[in-house]
């Protein structure tokens, strides 16, 4: 960990040495605590792209300066980080922030200070109000979209609504996933949603036993469990449930961090599906190739994974917006410029459309399936 922090520091220094006037961008993620690895990866993704641009000579003759702070996935620290970044560092935008409970507190601060939060790694509704908050612009689809996709897929695969159960984190993130799925079930005509087993656990703990008990107690034995948790408790949950119900399918939303889940599960790998908001590494999209090259160049020790890919895409999308600006660089200009991106191709296979009343880059999801220690693309026809 110390090594990483030192390397950030060095990198930050090198940037500052380059040019007197840098483009300051802030980032508050967990670099310690149970989801530290995700924060690390997100940082690597964003930083690698910015470093790449800086190496190419920057933009408008200026260099990007990415200032990252550790919030440990704790809302209180996230809030103080955000204030410090805005007030002391004069950042123009916050990019790639991690988590829903943290977003719940940082969004109002950014709105008050009129500073952009871009491409936060959270699918919660707090970042997706309607009409959109001017200072919140997203890349990824919402958790609701993820769980809705799961519901549709499960029903398509012949699973009955009664055979679906839920495992969610007891906070805004978990609730968002649960609500999305419930809404989708209702849309499919199933209204008796309260009968479905629903286990919850407390954030930053591994107390999943209650939730497991709920699964075992269910009157109709679940065949698929939709999960919105972080990777460590999710892995524990999967292991415990599988001891009793070996055939059940576990469907995780992207936030779980598929590679971390995979590591945590060890050998217990079968029947785990994760919805992704980025293409899988085996797809032959140009952005994946670009990412693999650049990551290897700047973070040779980092293995590619969906989280750093998301960071990479977010940074590229942000840069695309910034590069359209004509004149002084201000937060307002950045927001307007990103809102005016109308059909740009950054190599995702389909074009990106933003508008003043649409702050969502994509609504597309990529399904992955954990098989023999490897996440591979998955579609519902492959359902066992």
């Amino acid at each position: 960990m110390i090594k990483i922090i030192v390397s950030f520091a060095l990198w930050t220094l090198s940037i500052t040495a380059y040019s007197a006037e840098t483009i300051k961008i802030g980032m508050s993620v967990a670099l310690t605590g149970p989801v530290a690895t995700m924060g690390d990866d997100m940082y690597a993704g964003v930083a690698s792209y910015f470093q790449y641009i800086n190496q190419q000579g920057g933009i408008f003759g200026r260099q990007y300066e990415l200032i990252v702070r550790d919030d440990g996935y704790e809302p209180v620290r996230a809030a103080s980080n955000t204030r410090a970044l805005i007030d002391n560092e004069d950042v123009l935008a916050l990019i790639g922030n991690l988590g829903t409970p943290t977003a719940i507190v940082t969004v109002p601060i950014a709105q008050e200070k009129k500073i952009l939060i871009f491409g936060a790694l959270s699918g919660a509704d707090v970042l997706r109000v309607n009409p959109p908050n001017r200072y919140v612009i997203n890349y990824r689809p919402s958790y609701a979209e993820e769980t809705a996709e799961m519901v549709s897929g499960l029903l398509y695969s012949g699973i009955k609504p009664e055979e679906i159960a839920f495992f969610t984190q007891r906070d805004g993130y978990g609730d968002a996933g649960y609500k999305g799925a419930i809404t989708a079930l209702r849309r499919h005509g199933f209204n008796d949603v309260n009968m479905l087993a629903h286990g919850r656990y407390t954030r930053n703990t591994l107390n999943v036993e209650d939730a497991v008990a709920k699964m075992l107690d269910a009157t109709i034995q679940p065949k698929a469990i939709i999960m919105a948790g972080s990777y460590a408790p999710s892995a524990k949950f999967i292991k415990l449930v599988r001891e009793e119900l070996p055939d059940v399918m576990f469907l995780n939303v992207s936030f779980v961090g598929s590679h971390l889940l995979e590591q945590a599960l060890g050998n217990n790998v079968a029947n785990v599906i994760v919805t992704q908001v980025v293409p899988s590494m085996d797809s032959n999209l140009s952005i994946v190739d670009e990412y693999l090259t650049i990551l290897k160049q700047f973070f040779p020790d980092k293995k590619p994974n969906p989280v750093s890919l998301e960071g990479f895409i977010v940074a590229k999308l942000f840069h695309t917006g910034v590069s359209q600006i004509d004149g002084n660089l201000t937060t307002e200009k950045i927001v307007e410029s990103i809102e005016s991106l109308n059909g740009v191709d950054i190599g995702l296979g389909s074009d990106i459309y933003y508008a003043a009343n649409d702050h969502q880059a994509i609504h597309q999801l990529w399904l992955t399936h954990l098989q023999s220690g490897q996440f591979t693309s998955f579609n519902w026809q492959q359902w066992p």
Binding site: T202, T205, L206, E209, D210, V212, A213, D217
Partner: protein, 1118 residues
């Protein structure tokens, strides 16, 4: 000396002297100026540095204080380091102090004051150090407390997570087991899904553990909250109270909860480890909060003490500084005194110089005056003498003469002589004139004194009427001063209506009257008596006028006239009849009086008042009453019936008053008012108060009155009378079910029926509610009374139709007789009441004559209470034991101790009878302790035969729980007797648990801790709440006999017993069925898994010997 000197020479001498004087004055001025300059230099050298140094020191002191305030205001330790160092100030102070000490070297007391100043300064430095250290301590403590706060929050979070983990793991285990069972059942293809069985298998300690872990969670939360309070409160007593009352309480709860949790989880090593960690976290938390020398509590205490000391130090510092300032002031004043001396000295020199100059100048002025006066004297003296004499003469000093030097022949001497002759002549002439004038003045004074002494105004007028002169009285009459009035015409002082235009008009009018209406000088009217006469003296004619002011006399006369007519009007228009009576004769009456009595005043005035009364007797009686009062000087008021002149009577309110209270015989005034209507209203009200408004029957007051009256009458006639006391049976039900309106309707109907059931003369009354009474006078036989009572019962039990509902009521009647059953109202009524209760008791709808036994019955309870007290003392109370059988082993496993009373007076008394009395009187506490002790001693005595497992059950009363001493008593008793706790079972009724739950919980918990078994008695008859039972540490549940007795023939009761059994198994309670009397009941209980029974089927309660015999043989339970 200078008389021979010429004026020119004199002038020369004068100039020389003046020059000399000016030279001397200049010399003196130069000298004094030199001295003044020297003084000024001295002052500058000595005083100014000292003033400056003392001002500097003041400002340094202010800097010290500012610095001290900054120290105090600092919020954390780092701020202290940033403050300017104090030694800079100290250095500056030392510099200025040195200057000071040099300045005061030769000043008296200066060194001492300076030393004082320094010692205060040292003291201040010391205080400042103290404050600095205290502030440092404050920061250290705050930081520590903040650190503790964070640690406590962290621990709390950790504990919450651990609790969650434990409860989660337990839930998971349960769910796994359930699933296993479900799967195994499915596999074996059983169609059983008996949840009861599942629960029995699985629930184990689930509820308890969940509850315990919740209470740990809550306890920790509460302690954390209390920690915040500890940090907030500023009062050590508050802190102490929070620690001792609140935190200790939760600490105890936590300790109990964690240790119980550990016990419950003994079999699960994984959870046990978690719980142990939990427990150690809880202990750490408590250590952070209250335990240990560096707990938040102790830190807060230190903090508070430090703050107190800080306040003291601050006060010290300020007072020291004040004293320093005082010393500085003293120094200044010392120096001022010193400089004042110097100034005084130079002042003295200047003063001498001034005096010298002044004397020189004065001498010069004196010389000048001497010089000028010697010249003037030579010319002016003789001229001045002549001028003065002439002037005196002009001032009528005719005796003025000039001195004449007879020898001298100078012009001045001749002139003086002629002057003297002229003056002497003039003096003689003037003296003669003065004598004549004096005589004339004397005469005039006498005349004017006479005129002014007269009260009438006397004026002299010209023939035209102009006032020429007047006396003082005239000023009074016309209200103006003489000088104003002189010259005015008399005519203007008459009112216009008098038509006086000339004096002649007055003379004409005077022949008729001498009274005139006049106006005074200010135009105010007045009445005058006026006489006018002409006086002639030779050619001169003038008028003399005499006037008296008669206004006051005139006014009095008019007022008298008005008053008299007003009084007449009032009298005639008064709304009450008014008569003036003297010697009881009507002298005068008013109009209203005529109306009231329909009489003519002309006829009645002068007649005797007797004609107003109906009879001579009434007339005399009122006279006596009224004049008795009137002669006391007071008003008489009364209400009597009077007669109009047409012979009709009416009620009249009278009020009379003597004209002269001291002499009523001189006449009295009487007021008469017709109050016939009010009188009637009053009568109606009286009647209303006496009768029941609902039924119209006499109420209790009237009833008492009439009964009293009837008793008198019966006593006189040696007759018998009877009182019936009637009460409706179950009247309350009618009220409750049909409503009060229907109830009222029923009462009215009853009243009617009662009235028609008795004779006209008999009194029927309603005492209230549904209680009615009847007085029957002239009773000749009891048979007759019985007939009347039957008639009443019959009439009241006929169908009533209330609001188209037909209902039947019955009533009970008690009868008491005068004089046999009582001789006064109270006793007769009470005995009738007692008889009525007896009637109710033996089945209602009947009547009972009173008998002495009835009284005895209510006395019996009292007597029993008395003998019970004695029974306790004389040990008439003893125990019997009813065996309890275990159906599985067929062995007796215990016995319930039951209290018995074999009274010397009453024989065997049922517990149903005497236990309530024990409860009511509080004797139960002593008796309860006796029972407990007896039971324990019995067991200990028979331990060998009864066996180690034998349980003695003892009933507890609710009274024993009061006061909270029960558990202590039981502990002591077990100690005393050596009885093992597990052999004692205490039976408690549900009502005890209901009455005072908090106390009950505490006591039961304590008892449970001691180890005695707790049983709930008569279960099913009370609240019977499962939730309720869970709150108490109960072990055994005794099913009430009422359920057991009906299990074989009442499906409901069977279901209840079944449910109770199932529930008890779930709660892990042993069940004892009471009152088992038949083999069928036994069979039912056996089938439903109730293994412990008690009842006559096996054995009634036994004396100890019989119990021992019973124990020694087995029972056939098949």
């Amino acid at each position: 000396m200078f008389k021979q000197w010429s004026i020119r020479n004199l002038l020369k001498l004068w100039s020389l002297a003046t020059l000399l004087a000016i030279a001397m004055i200049a010399g003196i001025a130069l000298y004094s100026n030199a001295i003044f300059t020297e003084t000024q230099q001295t002052l500058t050298a000595q005083v100014l540095p000292l003033e400056n140094a003392s001002r500097q020191i003041s400002s340094i002191a202010a800097a010290f204080i500012t610095r001290q305030k900054q120290v105090i205001a600092s919020e954390y330790a780092e701020q202290l380091a940033k403050l300017s160092p104090r030694n800079v100030l100290e250095k500056r102070y030392r510099q200025h102090w040195q200057i000071l000490s040099l300045s005061v070297l030769d000043i008296k007391n200066g060194q001492e004051t300076l030393a004082d100043l320094n010692s205060y300064y040292q003291q201040f430095l010391h205080n400042d150090d103290q404050i600095f250290r205290q502030i440092q301590l404050r920061h250290t403590l705050s930081k520590q407390i903040e650190g503790h706060g964070n640690a406590i929050e962290h621990l709390e979070q950790q504990i919450q997570n651990q609790v969650e983990a434990i409860s989660g793991k337990i839930n998971l285990n349960i769910s796994r087991n359930k699933r296993k069972i479900r799967l195994s059942l499915l596999n074996k293809d059983h169609q059983v899904s008996d949840d009861m069985m599942l629960d029995r298998l699985l629930s184990s300690n689930q509820d308890d553990i969940q509850m315990l872990s919740q209470s740990v969670r809550l306890g920790v939360l509460n302690i954390v909250n209390l920690t915040y309070k500890l940090i907030q409160f500023d009062n050590p007593d508050n802190l102490l109270s929070i620690r001792e009352n609140d935190i200790r309480q939760y600490q105890a709860i936590l300790n109990v909860a964690t240790s119980q949790l550990k016990q419950k989880l003994l079999s699960n090593p994984e959870l046990l480890v978690l719980t142990q960690r939990l427990e150690s976290d809880v202990q750490t938390l408590l250590a952070f909060v209250v335990e240990g020398p560096s707990s938040v509590y102790q830190l807060r205490l230190q903090q508070l003490q430090n703050e107190q000391k800080l306040v003291l130090s601050q006060q010290d510092a300020i007072s020291t500084l004040t004293q320093m300032m005082e010393k500085l002031d003293q120094l200044s004043s010392l120096v001022s005194e010193q400089s004042l001396d110097v100034v005084t000295k130079s002042g003295q020199v200047a003063q001498s110089a001034r005096w010298f100059i002044f004397i020189l100048s004065s001498l010069m002025a004196l010389g000048m005056i001497a010089f000028v006066s010697s010249i003037s004297r030579r010319i002016n003296q003789p001229l001045e003498g002549l001028r003065q004499a002439m002037h005196a003469l002009s001032l009528e000093k005719f005796d003025t003469r000039l001195e004449v030097d007879t020898d001298s022949r100078s012009e001045f001497s001749i002139l003086a002589n002629d002057f003297n002759v002229f003056a002497s002549n003039t003096q003689d002439l003037i003296a003669a004139l003065a004598n004549a004038k004096e005589a004339l003045q004397f005469r005039e004074q006498h005349i004017s004194a006479i005129l002014n002494g007269v009260p009438e105004a006397i004026l002299t007028l010209t023939s035209a009427g102009i006032i020429q002169s007047m006396n003082h009285a005239a000023e009074e009459v016309f209200k103006a001063e003489e000088k104003t009035l002189i010259g005015l015409n008399l005519i203007r002082f008459f009112v216009e209506d008098e038509h006086i235009d000339h004096l002649a008009d007055i003379v004409n009018k005077q022949q008729k009257t001498k009274e005139f209406a006049g106006i005074n000088f200010h135009g105010e009217p007045f009445f005058m008596w006026l006489s006018l006469s002409l006086v002639s003296t030779g050619d001169n004619e003038f008028w003399v006028c005499v006037i008296s002011d008669i206004t006051a006399w005139k006014r009095t006369e008019e007022k008298l006239k008005t008053t008299s007519s007003e009084l007449d009007t009032i009298l005639e228009n008064a709304m009450v009849g008014i008569a003036f009576i003297k010697n009881r004769n009507l002298l005068r009456v008013n109009h209203k009086f005529e109306e009231l009595f329909l009489c003519d005043r002309n006829l009645i005035e002068g007649q005797s008042a007797r004609c107003l009364y109906a009879s001579e007797e009434a007339f005399e009686q009122l006279g006596e009453q009224a004049y008795a009062v009137l002669t006391q000087g007071e008003n008489f008021e009364g209400e009597v019936e009077l007669v109009r002149q047409d012979g009709s009577k009416f009620w009249c309110a009278l009020s009379s008053k003597a004209i002269d209270p001291l002499r009523p015989q001189d006449g009295t005034i009487w007021l008469f008012d017709d109050v016939t209507q009010q009188h009637a209203d009053q009568q109606r009200l009286t009647k209303l108060a006496s009768f029941d408004s609902l039924t119209g029957l006499p109420n209790r007051t009237v009833f008492n009155d009439r009964l009293e009256h009837a008793i008198h009458k019966a006593h006189r006639n040696s007759a018998t009378l009877a009182v019936f006391f009637l009460d409706l049976d179950h009247f309350k039900n009618i009220n409750d079910s049909l409503g009060h309106r229907a109830g009222d309707q029923l009462l009215c109907e009853i009243a009617n029926r009662l009235k028609s059931a008795v004779r006209e003369d008999d009194t029927v009354a309603r005492l209230g509610g549904d209680e009615f009474t009847v007085i029957l006078e002239d009773v000749h036989s009891v048979q007759h009374l019985a007939k009347v009572a039957e008639k009443i019962l019959e009439s009241t039990s006929k169908v009533f139709t209330l609001d188209s509902t037909e209902i039947n009521v019955s009533s009970s009647i008690g009868i008491s007789l005068y004089p046999a059953d009582g001789r006064n109202v109270d006793i007769l009524l009470r005995n009738a009441d007692a008889a009525m209760y007896h009637a109710k008791k033996i089945g209602r709808n009947n009547f009972q004559f009173y008998s002495a036994e009835m009284n005895a019955e209510s006395n019996q309870r009292l007597a029993m209470e008395t003998s019970l007290r004695r029974a306790v003392e004389q040990q008439e109370l003893y125990l019997q034991y009813q065996p309890q059988i275990d159906l599985r082993s067929g062995k007796i496993f215990g016995a319930e101790a039951l209290l018995r009373w074999n009274s010397e007076q009453w024989g065997m008394v049922s517990p149903m009878q005497f236990i309530p009395i024990l409860e009511e009187t509080g004797l139960i506490v002593i008796v309860g302790e006796y029972v407990l002790r007896q039971a324990c001693e019995t067991y200990m005595a028979m331990k060998d035969q009864l066996g180690e497992d034998f349980v003695i059950a003892v009933n507890l009363s609710g009274r024993q729980f009061k006061g909270g001493q029960l558990s202590a008593y039981v502990r002591q008793l077990l100690n005393d007797t050596g009885m093992p706790a597990c052999n004692l079972e205490l039976e408690i009724t549900e009502s005890i648990l209901m009455e005072d739950t908090e106390l009950a919980v505490t006591t039961l918990n304590e008892l449970s801790k001691i180890g005695v078994t707790l049983a709930i008695d008569d279960f099913g008859t009370g609240y019977s709440s499962l939730a309720y039972l869970k709150r108490f540490p109960l072990n055994v549940l005794k099913v009430d006999r009422s359920f057991v007795s009906d299990v074989t023939n009442d499906a409901d009761d069977a279901a209840i017993v079944d449910a109770i059994l199932a529930m008890s198994r779930r709660l892990q309670l042993d069940v004892v069925a009471e009152g088992v009397e038949t083999a069928e009941q036994l069979a039912f209980l056996q089938v439903h898994d109730c293994h412990r029974v008690q009842g006559y089927f096996f054995s009634k309660p036994l004396d100890l010997d019989d119990l021992m015999a019973f124990v020694n043989h087995d029972i056939d339970v098949a």
